[in-house]
């Protein structure tokens, strides 16, 4: 199944590397952590804390790339760069998009996990 959200080659490589039994645990960890990080991004945007904003986006970028969620990871990176600049003005829409994209990533990973 080719999913635009997830680079299948990266994902399958990860599955082979980690072992089929372990990949589920890894996905669970991601499902637990990614929403927390997105929550941190939203909160820090609201409070104007660019440092927390940057770090949460950085962390999200990193783990998302491991699963092959490359586009999503790139969006997180974009937010990380904005946080690094220090001016969070006008990023509300980007954060809303990120949240929506995550839902797609979540669904795609869920399907890939159950697909084995």
């Amino acid at each position: 199944m080719a999913d635009p959200c997830i680079d299948v080659a990266t994902f399958e490589n990860l599955r082979t590397m980690m072992g089929a039994d372990y990949i589920g645990e890894l996905i669970d960890a991601y499902f637990e952590e990614a929403p927390q990080l997105i929550g941190q991004i939203e909160q820090s945007l609201a409070s104007g804390n660019a440092e927390v904003f940057r770090r949460a986006a950085h962390s999200l970028k990193s783990s998302s790339a491991s699963f092959g969620a490359l586009q999503f990871s790139a969006r997180a990176k974009e937010l990380e760069m904005i946080g690094k600049e220090g001016n969070l003005d006008g990023t509300f829409e980007k954060v809303a998009n990120l949240k929506e994209d995550y839902n797609a990533v979540h669904a795609a990973l869920e399907a890939l996990r159950d697909g084995d």
Binding site: M18, L26, A29, R55
Partner: protein, 351 residues
């Protein structure tokens, strides 16, 4: 998955605030045969590192509370932790941060997501290097005095061969064969043991180390492996004390009706090549070079001059005014094209 490391497994700590990264790294490392613990942030990592031994740390840079820089800086300045190898794990787009970490003392880096082949190679290389450093420390413990070993640990190791400014000293017992023939073998060994004990005390008391003992002769070095600013003067003062101790020892021998012993000491200062030589199981700190040869020649020249302590011009020029020396003129030394000026140090001065 049964990928095993070629190197011996180590006890590793993975530090990352991202749970997926922690799981990924620890799983990969466990598959390669290592035992792994994880920490979520720098503070937790430092607590763990201080409470039990680890061989290697995989350290994320960006973390809340205490970040990777701070952990690294604390590790490299902690006497007990600074030999733990640190490999930074970072995103591809923060390589400038990695450079900073390498400058701070990190051993290597890996970019995330981590490639398992690279991971194995880097971990293997780092653990090998750590093993070597541990072995070197063990060697120093075996062959240096406790003080030198401690000082070395505090000042950092310099194990490869290198040029250092130092003072070399040779000493041996005059007419030792005659003395040996005048007494029983047990007495001779006892004499040697007393002699070495006295000489070691005078030498290490002045910051020198004895690095060779052959029969009734010994070689000592001042100013290496630990730098010593006044190594020339310390060597001469040690020599004066050695003579003084031998004189005290002779009183004792005289009352027992034994032959007095006399020693000759040669001292030369300058550049020497210093380093550890030997094999894995037996190694010693060695100094070689012209300066060392000259000290050996001066020691044997004491017989000709009839003075117990002879020093070269470099040593003489470094001495404080309160140590008297006598110019003994120029002598021809094997291996030197020009004659060298030598000085004796009269023993009847306060050392």
């Amino acid at each position: 998955m049964g990928i095993k490391t070629r190197t011996e497994p180590g006890h590793l700590l993975v530090v990352d605030d991202n749970k997926v990264n922690r799981l990924l790294l620890s799983r990969s490392l466990e598959q390669q045969g290592h035992s792994v613990e994880t920490a979520e942030n720098g503070r937790q990592a430092l607590e763990m590192l201080r409470s039990r031994p680890f061989d290697l740390v995989l350290l994320d840079i960006q973390m809340p509370e205490i970040d990777g820089y701070e952990v690294l800086s604390q590790l490299t300045t902690d006497l007990h932790l600074r030999d733990i190898a640190v490999i930074m794990t970072s995103a591809l787009d923060e390589l400038d941060s990695v450079v900073k970490c390498i400058e701070m003392g990190a051993e290597d880096y890996l970019t995330k997501p981590v490639n398992p082949v690279l991971l194995r190679a880097r971990i293997g290389a780092s653990l090998e290097k750590k093993k070597l450093r541990d072995q070197q420390r063990e060697l120093i413990r075996k062959f240096a005095t406790a003080e030198v070993a401690d000082d070395l640990e505090t000042s950092g190791f310099s194990l490869g061969g290198k040029y250092v400014e130092a003072t070399a000293m040779f000493s041996d017992i005059r007419s030792f064969t005659t003395i040996a023939e005048s007494q029983s073998p047990a007495e001779t060994i006892e004499l040697l043991n007393t002699y070495y004990t006295l000489m070691f005390e005078a030498i290490s008391g002045h910051g020198g180390i004895v690095n060779q003992m052959v029969g009734d002769g010994l070689m000592a070095i001042f100013g290496a492996p630990l730098p010593q600013e006044d190594h020339c003067e310390m060597a001469v003062r040690a020599a004066l004390e050695m003579i003084e101790m031998i004189e005290l020892f002779n009183y004792e021998r005289e009352t027992e009706g034994k032959l007095k012993i006399r020693i000759g000491i040669g001292i030369a200062s300058g550049q020497v090549i210093a380093g550890y030589t030997g094999t894995l199981h037996r190694a010693t700190y060695t100094c070689v070079g012209d300066t060392v040869n000259l000290a050996a020649r001066l020691e044997s020249h004491t017989k000709i001059v009839g003075e117990p302590i002879l020093i070269d011009e470099t040593t003489c020029l470094c001495l404080a005014n309160n140590i008297h020396t006598l110019d003994q003129g120029l002598i021809q030394v094997k291996g030197k094209t020009r004659e060298v000026r030598i000085y004796s140090v009269p023993v009847d001065q306060k050392s």
